[in-house]
Symmetry: C3
Subunit: 127 residues, 3 copies
């Protein structure tokens, strides 16, 4: 854990997508105190038809560069205070590294039990 899904508009370079992944990885280490090398990311590209991101909901102006990040992680890994720091650090990091507007970073967390992971070898390493 965590398992990260990253949904990106079609037409960005592989390097651009890799930098998104780098920023999420580094932010997860530094803000959520996850151990080094804990990186399991799935990136998908989508056409305009298939990545539907409202451009104004909640008074936030999103552009055609907006991305969706969904992160599955352990319950208890992040308090509310840490989640708030994490969202900010992700938006700041993506803005600094890629020029992505902070408005264009949509994040969702899904929390699961520690026993819900097998990192390989058919074992429940965190149980």
């Amino acid at each position: 854990m965590p398992l990260v899904r990253i949904h990106v508009p079609q037409g960005k370079s592989a390097e651009y997508r890799s930098i998104i992944s780098d920023v999420i990885y580094n932010t997860t280490l530094t803000v959520l105190n996850v151990p080094e090398y804990n990186r399991f990311h799935v990136i998908s590209e989508h056409s305009t038809t298939d990545l539907v991101i409202d451009p104004t909901y909640y008074g936030i102006h999103r552009s055609e560069n907006a991305i969706i990040i969904q992160i599955t992680l352990n319950e208890g890994r992040a308090t509310l205070a840490l989640k708030t720091l994490y969202y900010k650090a992700l938006a700041d990091g993506l803005h600094e590294r890629l020029g992505l507007r902070r408005e264009d970073v949509f994040i969702n967390l899904v929390e699961v039990k520690k026993e819900n992971w097998s990192l390989g070898n058919g074992e429940a390493q965190y149980a």
Copy 2:
């Protein structure tokens, strides 16, 4: 929130996929009372090999047009009664707009805490 994933068999038109998204959006507004413009959908197309939907499980006869919808939303947004209305309204709406058989609509909800969303700007808007 909600974040909606829509898995569709390959070979449907972009318009067909957009109408699926429209129906889900409209149903979520009217049945779950979600605010207008709250629309964050990811659509994926899959070959027959890669979208494996059993044609008979639970006595329901599914066709090669069957789709899978997974919706991540806030805990407490929908009571059991509302969920039941929501499933019915989604199946009815997709049937009416696209002729999709009601048997071909598979839905799964994943519930998370309000603090688990950042809608942009690096803030936890619902916390």
Copy 3:
């Protein structure tokens, strides 16, 4: 339920991907005692850029064949003991059928309420 997502590196054959799905289906029946024909799988292929799986985290040596499996299922379907058996049986089965190294099988479970499924027809069959 369950809903299974399978993320596979690009370049494997359709048969290879189908065997992964077969192993997961069979293991879910035999270990988790799910009814026959309960099979709803979504398989995606990803380039090396887009499927980022750390090759050493937690002291497990993963290869370029590593896959990620995420399974959404009902709370209470699997005790901790059953989850442990399930992870082992999945890794063993994939190794036996495909020669996939057990280190290359990453699994995550997401648990939801019984009322969170509609298997078709717009009804909440498990509620």
